[in-house]
Amino acid sequence: MTDLDELDRKILCALAQDASQSAGALGRKLGLSQPATWRRIRRLETSGIIKGRRLRLNAEALGFGVTVFLGVKLARKGQVSLEDFERAVSAIPEVQTVEHVLGLYDYRLRVVARDLPDFERVLRRRIMTLPGAGDVEANVLLSEERLPGPIR
């Protein structure tokens, strides 16, 4: 594990909120020179602590009014190949994330749709027909917050 000092944590926190700011602008806020800030950002990236960047889009403005989280249980475990299921589910464009979990369900999916009828179409035609898909539980997302985590 890489040890972060106070400045690294501040940089990480700032970039998690707004990754489009330049090293110069960020450095000025923290009282750090542009090259020093840049080196620290670079180190956070090369060490894999910053694993990438994500564009924040307004889903609703783009016509995606509904986000649903699905808990999926595989039927006949042992007979279905996890790889087949994972490959098929990942190929569905409306499925934004796939997490393999341990507990009540085997997989947790984040699905976007234009509206509820559109979601029903995705669920019936694409999710329920996946190889091995069994029980499915749906919860419609009302609100979502990402928190800074234990670096603040």
């Binding site: 594990m1 890489t2 972060l4 990480l12 970039l15 998690a16 707004d18 990754a19 489009s20 060490s47 894999g48 602590i49 910053i50 694993k51 990438g52 960047r53 994500r54 564009l55 924040r56 889009l57 307004n58 889903a59 403005a61 783009l62 995606f64 989280f69 994972e86 589910v89 990942s90 464009p93 409306e94 499925v95 934004q96 994330t97 796939v98 997490e99 393999h100 979990v101 341990l102 507990g103 009540l104 369900y105 997989y107 947790r108 984040r110 976007v112 749906a138 919860n139 419609v140 997302l141 009302l142 609100s143 979502e144 917050e145 990402r146 928190l147 985590g149 234990p150 670096i151 603040r152």
Partner: protein
């Protein structure tokens, strides 16, 4: 309304937000000027809201991630507000979502290891107000995580 070129820009930009304006324009096969004007227009319209760095918590020593699905005691009218306000104060809670369905709230909780998780669960999670029921899903792997919108 967005046209095909806007959608093309969003597809390439989502796939790699670190692209420079020149690289993005080249991948979309449009001129840099056109590309930049359209990106600015989508930013002004609030369609592109910004970009964020994605933190790999495992690389920071947080090896355990648990999804806690919470059902609240809805006989208490302030249950949602009080629960979410208290959950926000727990540093290890990195995501908080509310739902319509069997689950009311979901928390993503990270911990250094299982004993750290157990301590967090007892001291910080179970002490949150108005919990009627709680279920845990332990993360094994992220199969797909880019969270791309199919524009």
């Amino acid at each position: 309304m967005l046209d095909d070129i806007d959608r093309r820009i969003l597809r390439h930009f989502q796939a790699d937000p670190s692209l420079s304006a020149a690289e993005l324009a080249e991948r979309c096969r449009i001129s840099q000027g056109v590309c930049w004007r359209r990106v600015e227009k989508m930013q002004a319209a609030g369609i592109i809201q910004g970009q964020e760095a994605v933190i790999d918590w495992a690389a920071l020593g947080y090896a355990v991630e648990v999804s806690l699905r919470v059902t609240l005691d809805k006989t208490q009218s302030r249950a949602f507000d009080e629960f979410t306000a208290a959950a926000r104060q727990v540093p290890e809670v990195i995501e908080l979502q509310t739902f319509l369905g069997r689950v009311d709230v979901r928390l993503s909780v990270i911990a250094r290891d299982m004993s750290h998780y157990q301590q967090l669960y007892r001291d910080r999670i179970l002490t949150l107000p108005h919990i009627a029921d709680i279920e845990a899903l332990m993360h094994i792997a992220r199969v797909k995580s880019e969270e791309v919108l199919p524009v």
